[in-house]
C-alpha cells in the first residue's frame, strides 16, 4: 500500500485551515464598532480565528485521512505499528501551541494596555455613575458642577473618554454595550470601574448580561417594546445643550420640591 507523507498532508491541513478561517472571518457577526477599543478587540478575534481555523483544519484533515486510509477491512486481523512515540514530534507539538499562546498573551496584553484609558478619563473625559437596580439603570453625571444624578438616560459626547463607576442597589447586574465591546458587573457593596471612548454618533443597546432575577430578560434595550432607553452618543454641542437642559429641569424640580415643602409646612 502507498504510504502517505505526513508533511505534505500537514501543509494541506494548513491550506484547508486557512479556507476555514476565511469563512469564519467572513461570516462573523460582530456589532458595529462604536468605540476606540472595538477595532483592536475585533482584530484580536480575527487573529484567533486565523490560528483556530488552521489548527482545526490540520486536526480534521488528519482525522479524516486516518479514517479513510487506516480503516480496517471486514475481518481484518492486522495490528497497527508497534510505535510508542516519536520524541521530536512530541516536542514540536508542544512548542508550536506554546508559541501560539504566547502570541495570544502578547496580543491580549497590548489590547488591554491600550484600552486602559481610565487615568485619561479622570482628567479630561466624562465620569458617569451607573446604578443597577431590579430592573434598570440610573445614571449620575459626576463631573458636572451641579449634582446631576438619577437620570434615566445615558447621553455621552462622541470621542471623549468616559469612565463608568458601577454600583448596584440590589443584586449583581452586568453593564454590557456590545457595540463598545465593553462589559462590567455592577456588584452590590463595591464600585467597579470600566472605561471606553465612544467614537460613533448613534444609539446603542445596553444589555444586562448577568442573571438578576425575574426581570433579567427585559433588562435589554434590544427587545421590541423595551422601556429602557438605549445609550445615545451625540456631538459635543448636542451634549452640552442636553446637559444645560437637564440642569434646568433639575433646578426646576428642586424648586418645586422646596415650594411643596414650604406650602406643606405652612399648611
Amino acid at each position: 500500500m502507498k504510504t502517505i507523507k505526513v508533511l505534505p498532508l500537514a501543509i494541506m491541513g494548513v491550506v484547508v485551515g486557512i479556507v476555514i478561517s476565511v469563512l469564519l472571518v467572513i461570516t462573523r457577526t460582530l456589532p458595529v464598532q462604536a468605540s476606540a477599543e472595538s477595532s483592536d478587540i475585533d482584530n484580536l478575534y480575527i487573529f484567533f480565528l486565523g490560528f483556530s481555523g488552521i489548527i482545526f483544519g490540520i486536526v480534521v484533515l488528519f482525522l479524516l485521512v486516518s479514517v479513510y486510509r487506516f480503516r480496517a477491512r471486514p475481518n481484518d486481523e492486522r495490528e497497527g505499528d508497534n510505535l510508542h512515540g516519536i520524541t521530536w514530534l512530541e516536542v514540536v507539538w508542544t512548542v508550536i501551541p506554546f508559541v501560539i499562546v504566547v502570541l495570544c498573551a502578547i496580543g491580549g496584553l497590548m489590547v488591554l494596555r491600550s484600552g486602559d484609558v481610565e487615568a485619561q478619563a479622570r482628567t479630561s473625559g466624562q465620569q458617569i455613575h451607573v446604578l443597577g437596580y431590579q430592573f434598570g439603570w440610573k445614571y449620575g453625571y459626576l463631573n458636572q458642577d451641579i449634582n446631576l444624578k438619577d437620570q434615566q438616560t445615558l447621553v455621552l459626547p462622541v470621542n471623549e473618554p468616559v469612565i463608568f463607576e458601577l454600583e448596584s442597589q440590589d443584586v449583581i447586574h452586568s453593564f454590557w454595550v456590545p457595540a463598545w465591546r465593553m462589559q462590567m458587573n455592577a456588584t452590590p457593596g463595591q464600585v467597579n470601574k470600566v472605561s471606553t471612548t465612544p467614537t460613533k454618533i448613534g444609539t446603542y443597546d445596553i444589555v444586562c448580561a448577568y442573571l438578576c432575577g425575574v426581570g433579567h430578560t427585559g433588562m435589554n434595550t434590544s427587545l421590541p417594546g423595551s422601556i429602557i432607553p438605549k445609550v445615545r452618543v451625540v456631538s459635543k454641542s448636542d451634549f452640552d445643550a442636553w446637559i444645560t437642559q437637564q440642569k434646568a429641569e433639575a433646578a426646576k424640580a428642586a424648586e418645586s420640591a422646596t415650594a411643596q415643602t414650604t406650602t406643606g409646612s405652612a399648611g
Binding site: 483556530s52 487506516f70 496584553l109
Partner: protein
C-alpha cells in the same frame, strides 16, 4: 413485613420520614424552650427535615448497618459477603458493596438524571424557539435553566465518571474491589438524596439563580435556593468520598508488577481527577455552607447589608468550579485513550506525555479559576496572571489531542460505535478548546462574556467533550458489563444524529453571542429569531437521538449476540475476565508483566491471570 425492617428501599420509606419528623420535633422543642419566635419557622424546620431525612435514607438503605452492629458489640463475620455482588435484579436496588454493582447503579441513575436535565433543556428550548414569551414564565424559565445546569453537572457529569471508574478501575488494576466498599456504596446512595433535594425544590418554586447561585440574588430567592445549597453539598460529599476511595485503591491496590507507568491511561486520569476532587470540592461545600448559613441562620458571609462580600463567594465558588471542569473531562480523556488504542490496534502515542499532561492539567487547573470573573470587578491586576495560566493550560490539552491523532495514524481503525464517538469527540472538543483559548484573553472575554458565545463554548466542552467520551466509554465497555454486544447499526445512527444535531445546536450560539445575545434570557431581539428556531429544532433532534441509545442498551442486554470475554481484543486486565466478570473479579491475583498498550507486538501480554491462587506455603511455627 420483614422487608420494611431489612435494609431495603422499603425501609427507607419509613426511616427517612421518621428521622425528618424527629428532627422537626427536636427543633420545635428547642425553639420553644429558648423562646425563639416564631416557633414554627417554616424554612428552619424544612432544612432540618431535609438534612435528617437524607441521613435517614442512608440509614434505611443500610449504609450504617455494619458499623451499628459493630458499635453495639454485635457479631460480625468478616467473610460475610451477602451484600456483595448482584445475584438478581433486586440487588441493584439494595445497598451493595460490589464495585461492579455500584458502577452500574451510578451509571443507570446518573443517566436517568441526564434525561431529566435534558428534558428541562427541551422545555426552555421550546420557549426560545420563537421570539416573545409563550411557554413558561420568567420565574419558571430561570428555574429550568438553573435545574438544567445543576442536574447535569452535579448529578450527571461528575458522578457518571465515578460510575465508569468504579466499574472499570478495580478490574484494570487487578484488584478484587475498591479499597472501601461500604464507603463506596454510601457515596452512591448519597446521590439519590442529592437529586431528590435538588428536584424537590420545584415544590418551592425551584432555585433560580443559575447553576452558580451567586449571592445576593440567592438571598432574595425562595426556599428552593436553600435546597440547591444543600443538594450541592450532598453531591459534593458523595464526590469527595468516591475520590478518596479511588486514590487509595489506585495507590495501594495495584496488582504486582503494575508500576505507575504500566497503568492504563484511564487509571492515570482517574488518579489526577481524584486528587483534584479531594483538594477542590471542599471549597464549594464551604461556599454553599456559608451561603446557606446566610440564608437560614442570619450570618453575614456574603450579605452586603451585614458587611459581607459577594465577590468572595465567586472566588470560592470558582476555586472549585473551574477544577470541576477538569473533573468532568479528565476521566473522559482517559476513556478516549483506552478506546482509540484498542480500536486502532496501536499503542497510545506518547504514553508518558499523555499521563503527565493529566497531572499538569490537574495542577494548572487550580491557578485559573478567576478567568470566570474577568468582568466581576475583582482586582484588575489579577486578570493578567490568570490569563497567562489559562492560556498555558491549552498546551497539555493540545498534547493529548495530537497524541490521539498520532495513535490513530498507522493503526488499523475498527470503526465501531465506540471509536466513532472517540473520533467525533476529537472533532468537537477541538472547537471547544479553541474557543477556550480565545476566552482566556481578557479584552476579548470582557467584550462577550455572559453571552451565548460562552454557552456555545462550554457546551462544546461538556457535550462535545465529556458526553461524547461518556458515550464512547458506554459502548466500549458495554460488552464487558452485560456480556452481550450492542447493535452496531443503531449505534451508528445514534452517533451520526447526535453528532450532527449537537453541532447544529451549539455552533450557531457562537454567532448569537458575538452579535449581542446575553445568556439566561427567555426572550431576545428579532434578529435572533431564525437562528434560535434552528437551534431549538436541532436540540429536539438531539434529545430524540438519546432514545435510540436507550433502546439499544436495553434491547441488546437481552437480545444482543454473546460478546465473549474480549470482543475488542483489548490488552488491559478487564478483558482477561469473562463478561460479565465474576463477582470477586480475579480467581487469583494477576501479575502485570508489561505496558497496557502493546499492540502490534507479536505475542505481547500486559498481564498474566493465574487460573487458581497458588497454594500459599505454610510457614512452620
Amino acid at each position: 413485613m420483614t422487608a420494611v425492617l431489612k435494609p431495603t428501599l422499603a425501609r427507607c420509606l419509613w426511616v427517612a420520614p421518621a428521622f425528618a419528623a424527629l428532627a422537626i420535633l427536636i427543633t420545635i422543642a428547642a425553639r420553644s424552650l429558648v423562646g425563639m419566635t416564631p416557633v414554627l419557622q417554616e424554612s428552619t424546620l424544612l432544612t432540618v427535615a431535609y438534612i435528617a431525612g437524607g441521613i435517614g435514607f442512608i440509614v434505611g438503605i443500610g449504609g450504617f448497618d455494619y458499623w451499628f452492629t459493630w458499635m453495639r458489640g454485635g457479631e460480625l463475620d468478616p467473610n460475610d459477603h451477602s451484600q456483595h455482588g448482584a445475584h438478581s435484579w433486586g440487588d441493584y436496588f439494595k445497598f451493595n458493596t460490589d464495585h461492579k454493582v455500584i458502577g452500574i447503579q451510578y451509571i443507570v441513575f446518573t443517566f436517568i438524571m441526564f434525561l431529566v436535565g435534558g428534558m428541562f433543556a427541551e422545555i426552555f428550548r421550546s420557549e426560545l424557539a420563537n421570539p416573545g414569551q409563550q411557554v413558561v414564565t420568567n420565574q419558571q424559565y430561570n428555574g429550568l435553566i438553573s435545574q438544567h445546569g445543576v442536574i447535569m453537572i452535579f448529578v450527571f457529569m461528575v458522578p457518571v465518571f465515578a460510575g465508569i471508574g468504579n466499574y472499570v478501575i478495580p478490574l484494570m488494576i487487578g484488584a478484587a474491589d475498591m479499597a472501601f466498599p461500604r464507603l463506596n456504596a454510601v457515596s452512591f446512595w448519597l446521590l439519590p438524596v442529592a437529586a431528590f433535594t435538588l428536584l424537590s425544590s420545584f415544590m418551592f418554586g425551584s432555585f433560580d439563580g443559575g447553576w452558580t447561585g451567586y449571592p445576593t440574588l440567592s438571598e432574595q430567592s425562595g426556599y428552593g435556593m436553600t435546597l440547591y445549597q444543600l443538594g450541592v453539598q450532598l453531591a459534593g460529599a458523595s464526590s469527595i468520598a468516591t475520590a478518596v476511595n479511588f486514590l487509595v485503591t489506585i495507590i495501594a491496590m495495584r496488582a504486582p508488577g503494575m508500576t505507575l507507568f504500566r497503568m492504563p491511561l484511564l487509571v492515570w486520569a482517574n488518579l489526577a481527577t481524584s486528587a483534584l476532587v479531594v483538594a477542590a470540592t471542599p471549597f464549594i461545600a464551604g461556599a454553599q455552607f456559608m451561603a446557606m448559613f446566610d440564608r437560614e441562620m442570619g450570618t453575614h458571609f456574603f450579605t452586603v447589608a451585614g458587611n459581607g462580600d459577594t465577590l468572595v463567594y465567586q472566588h470560592i465558588f470558582w476555586f472549585y468550579s473551574h477544577p470541576a471542569v477538569y473533573i468532568m473531562i479528565l476521566p473522559g480523556f482517559g476513556i478516549i485513550s483506552e478506546v482509540i488504542a484498542t480500536h486502532a490496534r496501536k499503542p497510545v502515542f506518547g504514553y508518558r506525555a499523555v499521563a503527565f499532561s493529566s497531572a499538569g492539567i490537574a495542577i494548572l487547573g487550580f491557578a485559573v479559576w478567576a478567568h470566570h470573573m474577568f468582568a466581576s470587578g475583582m482586582e484588575p491586576w489579577l486578570r493578567v496572571p490568570i490569563m497567562l495560566s489559562t492560556l498555558l493550560i491549552a498546551i497539555p490539552t493540545g498534547i493529548k489531542i495530537f497524541s490521539w491523532l498520532g495513535t490513530m495514524w498507522g493503526g488499523v481503525l475498527r470503526m465501531t460505535t465506540a471509536n466513532l464517538f472517540a473520533i467525533g469527540f476529537i472533532f468537537t472538543f477541538v472547537i471547544g478548546g479553541l474557543s477556550g483559548v480565545m476566552l482566556a484573553v481578557v479584552p476579548f472575554d470582557v467584550s462577550i462574556t455572559n453571552s451565548y458565545f460562552i454557552v456555545a463554548h462550554f457546551h462544546y466542552v461538556l457535550f462535545g467533550g465529556s458526553i461524547m467520551t461518556i458515550y464512547a466509554g458506554f459502548y466500549h465497555w458495554y460488552p464487558k458489563v452485560t456480556g452481550r454486544m450492542y447493535n452496531e447499526v443503531l449505534g451508528r445512527w445514534h452517533f451520526w444524529i447526535t453528532f450532527v444535531a449537537m453541532n447544529l445546536t451549539f455552533f450557531p450560539m457562537h454567532y448569537q453571542g458575538l452579535e449581542g445575545m446575553p445568556r439566561r434570557v427567555a426572550d431576545y431581539a428579532p434578529q435572533f429569531a431564525w437562528s434560535n428556531m434552528l437551534i431549538s429544532i436541532s436540540a429536539f433532534v438531539l434529545g430524540a437521538s438519546t432514545l435510540i441509545f436507550v433502546y439499544n442498551m436495553i434491547h441488546s442486554a437481552r437480545h444482543g449476540k454473546k460478546a465473549g470475554a474480549n470482543p475488542w481484543g483489548g490488552l488491559t486486565l478487564e478483558w482477561m475476565l469473562s463478561s460479565p466478570p465474576p463477582i470477586f473479579n480475579f480467581p487469583a491475583t494477576p501479575r502485570v508483566i508489561g505496558g497496557p498498550y502493546r499492540y502490534g507486538e507479536e505475542g505481547a501480554k500486559h498481564a498474566i491471570v493465574p487460573e487458581v491462587e497458588p497454594a500459599t506455603v505454610e510457614t512452620t511455627v
